[in-house]
């Protein structure tokens, strides 16, 4: 019995030592990998940043209007954004590789699942985020345009646009996550159809004036002739 206990203890001790002996190098390797990963990520970020500056990506993005969106979302410049993302992706990759070296069963499984799902979550969030920005932006643009054109119900248009874009963004995000695909599509169709109908009715009742003037403009009876403003310049 004593022997058994001693043997058990010895075995445990042996196992522990063995485990530690086995784990410690792995842990060190993991740490090394993570550190190397950090270094590599830094280097990659540095090179990428230099490359992007050289190709004047910021100017292109400014021209394309992308920078403006970034500014609105309080995000750094396109170059900065891209190089930072790549930095993190690279480093996280290294970290995960390092963790996998530890050989902890289950953890590896979880990590790989997370890994698989991670991009989708990321993309879904991005879609929602962009949708939010776009909805804000477009609805305000519509509001300003209709106010400045002297239309009667500018808020209606602005709210409709915001609503439609939200719906679109949400449904796309869900689609991306692959959640209850059919349900979402059905739900979206119903909401979208309803809102369109609502809009149509709203336009029909509230926007008669608007429609009339839009028609007039197309038919050549220019609104400008009736409404004379002094020329600004």
């Amino acid at each position: 019995m004593k022997d058994t206990i001693v043997q058990g203890l010895e075995q445990a001790y042996y196992n522990l030592v063995h485990m530690i002996a086995e784990f410690l190098p792995r842990f060190v390797v993991m740490l090394v990998i993570i550190l190397v990963g950090l270094l590599v990520a830094y280097v990659i970020r540095y090179i990428l940043r230099a490359l992007l500056r050289l190709t004047r990506l910021d100017r292109v993005s400014e021209d394309a209007g992308a920078s403006r969106v970034l500014r609105m979302a309080a995000l750094p410049s396109m170059t900065e954004l891209l190089s930072r993302s790549i930095f993190w992706i690279t480093w996280i990759g290294f970290i995960l590789v390092g963790v996998s070296i530890l050989g902890v069963a289950g953890l590896q499984e979880q990590i790989s699942r997370l890994f698989r799902f991670l991009p989708e979550i990321f993309i879904a969030m991005l879609i929602l985020f962009l949708g939010l920005i776009l909805a804000n932006f477009l609805s305000r643009a519509a509001l300003l345009a209709s106010v400045n054109a002297g239309q009667r119900s500018p808020k209606l248009l602005s709210w409709s646009i915001r609503f439609v874009i939200w719906m679109l963004a949400i449904s796309m995000a869900l689609e991306e996550l692959g959640l209850a695909r059919q349900t979402v599509i059905a739900a979206f169709s119903i909401v979208f159809g309803a809102s369109m109908l609502g809009l149509a009715i709203a336009f029909g009742l509230g926007g008669q004036d608007l429609a009339r003037r839009a028609l007039e403009r197309h038919l050549g009876d220019s609104e400008k002739e009736k409404y004379k403003e002094p020329q600004p310049l």
Binding site: R56, R59, E62, D63, R68, R71, M72, F137, R140, A141, L143, L144, A145, V147, N148, A149, G150, P154, K155, S222, K224, E225, K226, Y227, K228, E229, P230, Q231, P232, L233
Partner: protein, 429 residues
């Protein structure tokens, strides 16, 4: 990388042939080849008579319709050998250069092409004109060129005689604000024609701004502001006669005009802040010819609708204005907007505060900058309505005095802007 290639091989070849010139006239146009040709001809006549000894070239920057123009030019590459008269006419070949683009170039690109050409041709003075105004008076082009060519001015702004209800944007906003901030009294910065020296041209050409949106759409005021703020540039104004009005509906409408001009002015505030933040008051610039004049024939305007649009704008845009304006200003404008048509007056103090709030909001990017400028439109309409009401019977003299008051108000309140400009973004509930 696109920087080095905006001058086409064909243009470079033409510039090489022209060699060095004394004067260059650039025509900016998005119109048809026909008006372009007519403009070039009228400008050429004027140059023939006014600069008989100087080496002169005319460059038209155009897109689309170029092939037409080019084909005519190839028949008659220069004006040599045709109609010989014993009257006053230039001794030299007057060159016509066509800078063709596949599609209509932006105003900024067109101006940049002219500046680059002027630099390569080593022109001592250059004028930029638009075809619409080319027929004004025979000597106007010479008047624009001469100060820069002969009297070593660097920037020559035009001045016109105008109807008293024309050019209201310049009178109520652009001129007083530019004057107060940059400290030089130049009336017309947003005109279709102006002149400049090779020094100013070269200076502007080297600025790294040509990809910016305000420069692409409306570079002219930026050039004038560069002259006011750059190193030792001399500015002057020259009287060109009556400002021809483009036919109704052809020019930009109020929204577009504000987006372009005010947008570009705000943008210039941003880029030239190191200069204007330190300037106080304003000084007059040399004026050549008679001072500007105002005529007063009756005009058919829909005032009631203007007021209505002001009122509804203040109401509908409430959340937007809230983020832009200071609380006090916002409350004031809301109060004023509730008055009825007869009693409503837009005070200069309020107007100046609004503009300074807008400028600083632009600086801090509280909302999209283009949207910000658009939000100004209803308020501008209100101001114009008030202006028309106050001045329906005013004499030009009264209006002049009133205009001067507005300018002084802008100058007086400049510290308010500076304070807001330097402070961080105001956080609003």
């Amino acid at each position: 990388m696109a920087d080095e290639t905006y001058l086409s091989d064909d243009l470079l070849r033409q510039l090489m042939s022209v060699g060095e010139v004394d004067l260059l006239v650039g025509i900016l146009s998005h119109s048809s080849a026909n008006t372009m040709r007519a403009a070039a001809r009228s400008i050429e006549n004027s140059l023939q008579q006014n600069f008989v000894r100087q080496r002169v070239a005319i460059i038209s920057v155009d897109g689309g319709a170029v092939e037409d123009a080019a084909s005519e030019d190839s028949v008659d590459p220069q004006t040599e050998g045709i109609a010989f008269s014993k009257g006053i006419t230039s001794l030299r070949t007057i060159h016509r250069i066509t800078a063709g683009f596949n599609s209509a170039p932006s105003a900024g690109l067109a101006l940049r092409t002219i500046l680059a050409s002027s630099d390569l041709l080593r022109a001592k003075a250059c004028a930029v004109v638009s075809p619409a105004t080319s027929s004004t008076s025979p000597d106007w082009i010479a008047n624009l060129l001469r100060p820069a060519f002969r009297d070593s001015f660097d920037f020559v702004a035009p001045m016109y005689s105008r109807h008293k209800f024309q050019g209201l944007l310049a009178r109520n906003l652009l001129y007083p604000m530019t004057r107060a901030l940059f400290g030089r009294r130049i009336r017309e910065l947003y005109s279709d024609e102006w002149g400049f020296s090779n020094r100013l041209g070269a200076y502007c050409l080297t600025q790294d701004v040509w990809h910016e949106e305000p420069i692409r759409t409306r570079p002219e005021a930026w050039m004038g502001i560069s002259a006011m703020t750059g190193p030792d540039f001399r500015c002057c104004q020259v009287f060109l006669g009556e400002k021809p009005q483009p036919p109704a509906g052809s020019g930009p409408d109020i929204v577009e005009a504000l987006r372009q001009t005010v947008g570009s002015l705000f943008w210039c505030l941003e880029t030239h802040q190191s200069v204007w933040l330190g300037r106080n008051g304003s000084e007059p610039v040399a004026t050549i010819g008679p001072d500007h004049a105002v005529s007063a024939e009756p005009m058919d305007l829909d005032r009631a609708r203007m007021f209505e649009m002001f009122q509804s704008g203040v109401k509908q845009l409430e959340p937007i204005l809230h983020t832009i304006l200071s609380s006090e200003t916002h409350t004031n404008i809301q109060t004023v907007a509730t008055l009825d048509q007869q009693t409503f007056r837009f005070g200069t103090d309020l107007w100046v505060k609004i503009l300074y709030d807008f400028a600083s909001a632009y600086h801090h990017s509280v909302i999209n900058r283009d949207h910000l400028v658009q939000a100004l439109v209803p308020l501008y309409r209100g101001k114009i309505y008030s202006f028309l009401m106050e001045h329906s019977d005013s004499s030009p003299g009264d209006m002049e005095a009133e205009g001067e008051n507005l300018c002084l108000e802008f100058e007086r309140q400049k510290p308010y802007l500076i304070e807001k400009w330097k402070a961080g973004v105001e956080v609003k509930s």
